[in-house]
């Protein structure tokens, strides 16, 4: 790849139209990048998205998105429904590959490595970029097997004892251990909705990912279960990079450090969460935050 990695770690984007790759990004730092208001860059990015477009057949769902996702940060993505939040999120672990008509262009890098590079294997990518879905989807297997499945297929454990350890630490990190330690052999589908979702988080953690993507993880849960998950997200931030899609602005405000506002497939504004919710710069963001539409 002929991208230029600048001294400070930011990546100059490869322009589709020209060979002139050395566009000085620093100079446009504060200003709009393809119409996005706010700072799309972070000092210490885990993932960098440049010029991302997504098409479902002929229909374009995502337009020219540039965004950095910082290490050990929670970034939340908000916006009216149908604006492409899920679509963008699913680009980050190539989950969109499973949709036949879906086509992604542009560049998404993780730790400097292009994840859409033809040579890159999607299996390890999905192991290092875990995903938690809107509806809790535990496997119809025991709680233990739910967690152990990932480590097993990736060969992460040396023996049974090690696997037990992985299961235990994953469940502990997901705050579920105390509730299920006596019934690990019971089906994961028998847990309550909130527990199932934490089980799914534990399942994602078990393969030691670096990034965890969450697509409206609390939308099917009651307020108490939601509070638990939010608490958990805050704890997980220490070790993982998290990107969360949410339709609840309160949730975004509570759990995230950065917030990105999407509108009709475009990234309108991105910035520190406090700033987005107290002093949005773009009129669309302000309208959404203040509840004028949504």
């Amino acid at each position: 790849m002929d991208d230029v990695i600048n001294q400070d770690g930011t990546v100059a984007r490869e322009l589709k139209t020209g060979t002139d790759a050395e566009v000085d990004m620093q100079s446009t730092n504060e200003s709009q990048s393809r119409g996005t208001v706010g700072d799309i860059y972070v000092d210490d990015p885990r993932m960098t998205c440049r010029n991302v477009n997504v098409y479902y057949g002929d229909k374009q769902a995502i337009f020219d998105i540039d965004l950095d996702i910082g290490k050990n940060q929670v970034i939340s993505m908000i916006g009216p429904s149908g604006c492409g939040k899920s679509t963008f999120l699913r680009c980050l672990n190539r989950m969109n590959d499973t949709i036949d008509v879906c086509k992604v262009t542009g560049q998404i890098k993780m730790d400097g490595q292009d994840i859409y590079d033809g040579a890159l294997d999607v299996v390890p990518l999905r192991a290092s970029v875990g995903m938690v879905f809107q509806k809790p989807n535990p496997f119809p297997k025991s709680i233990y097997d739910n967690i152990a499945y990932g480590p097993r297929i990736h060969g992460l454990s040396d023996d049974k004892q090690h696997l037990d350890e992985i299961v235990e630490t994953s469940l502990k990190k997901a705050g579920l251990w105390e509730e299920v330690k006596d019934r690990l052999d019971q089906p994961g589908t028998g847990l309550s909705g909130g527990q199932q979702q934490r089980l799914c988080i534990a399942r994602a953690i078990a393969v030691s990912p670096e990034v965890i993507l969450m697509d409206e993880p609390c939308s099917a849960l009651d307020p108490i279960a939601t509070a638990k998950i939010e608490e958990l997200i805050d704890e997980l931030r220490e070790n993982y990079t998290i990107a969360i899609v949410t339709h609840s602005m309160q949730q975004a405000a509570r759990v995230s450090q950065r917030t990105a506002y999407f509108h009709l497939g475009k990234l309108i504004e991105v910035g520190e969460t406090d700033q987005i919710f107290t002093a949005p710069k773009h009129r669309l963001t302000e309208d959404y935050i203040t509840g004028r539409f949504g």
Binding site: M95, T98, F133, G150
Partner: protein, 421 residues
Amino acid sequence: MVRVEKGLARRYRQERNFKRLGLGAILLGLLFVSFLFISIIANGYTAFQQTFVKLDVYYDPEMIAPVGETDPEILSAGNYGGLVKATMRELFPSVTNRRDKKKLYGLISTGASYQLRERVMQDPSVIGQRESIWVPADDDVDMLIKGHIDLNLPESDRRIKDDQLSWIQGLQEDDRVEKRFNKTFFTAGDSREPELSGIKGAASGSFFTLLICLSISFPVGVAAAVYLEEFAPKNRWTDLIEVNINNLAAVPSIVFGLLGLAVFINFFGLPRSVPMVGGLVLALMTLPTIIIASRAALKSVPPSIREAALGVGASPMQTITHHVLPLALPGMLTGTIIGMAQALGETAPLLMIGMVAFIVDIPGGAMDPSAVLPVQIYLWADSPERAFVERTSAAIMVLLAFLISMNLLAVWLRKKFERRW
């Protein structure tokens, strides 16, 4: 409010009527089924018993072999038919006329002589001894004892004549006639003599045929369904294949028989009347059923499970083998067993490949000529002897028992797999 209540009454009435209609339909269905079962069982249960006659046989060394002989070849060459006749003559010494003697001998099944031979071969020391032995009666006697012969008919219209009647009465007074469990029916192959015929040949034929059919159609059907559902690109070719599979499911089964005749027998030169060819033909016939059922089962696996597996980094193949297939398996098995049940009851295509032949031997493998259960039923139903009527019904009962146990197996398998997940 009043209007709502008015309408409410009508709505409830409609609901009640609909329920009644459904209940009526179910009752009607049950009525037909029970009628079917009752008539088959009423017709067929007597076939599980057979009339036997007790004979006091003197194993005459002159007719068989000298006392002490053990060479099976010599033993098996003995005149066992003569032995039976001699025993009968001894029982009714008054019968001297040649024609009457023939009628007398006719009371006993020709199978009696085989039975005597077996007895001697098994234990040659009986030669020169006298022994009581129960042998099967002729099918006409059997029918008489079971009350299927109308004695009010003139003698010429009856298969049992007046003097035969009196002999039978004599035997009965001597306690020499008895109805016993008809073991032959379950251990013998087909025969021209009803009392010697059994369904083991046809049942084994059906077994081997289904075995071949299952071992081909299940793996191929499931593999085709998995490929079409999970891997195949959605384009004109796969659409074409899909349409053709659906069409194949509707092709009359006799066409598959013709195809089998042309391809397996005429082109590949496989023998006629063998379960191998029958199984191949039935596999072709059941493939569409299995593919369609398996695809439906695969489709019904929630996409969230696939996403979950892909999300933790399972490859597409792992997603399918670890998660999708196990969840779809109960549905696939149900479809397969329904297909097998269809195949078990299929007659037409098997007629085309010669499985309708009269075969006495019990097949020992898939390459031995044999009949299958439905064809056996067809053959017996076509036979004039009254005794084959009850055997036809009995064979139908056996076929139904097979079908019911297959369905139970399907239910059991489904339950088992569901519990595991």
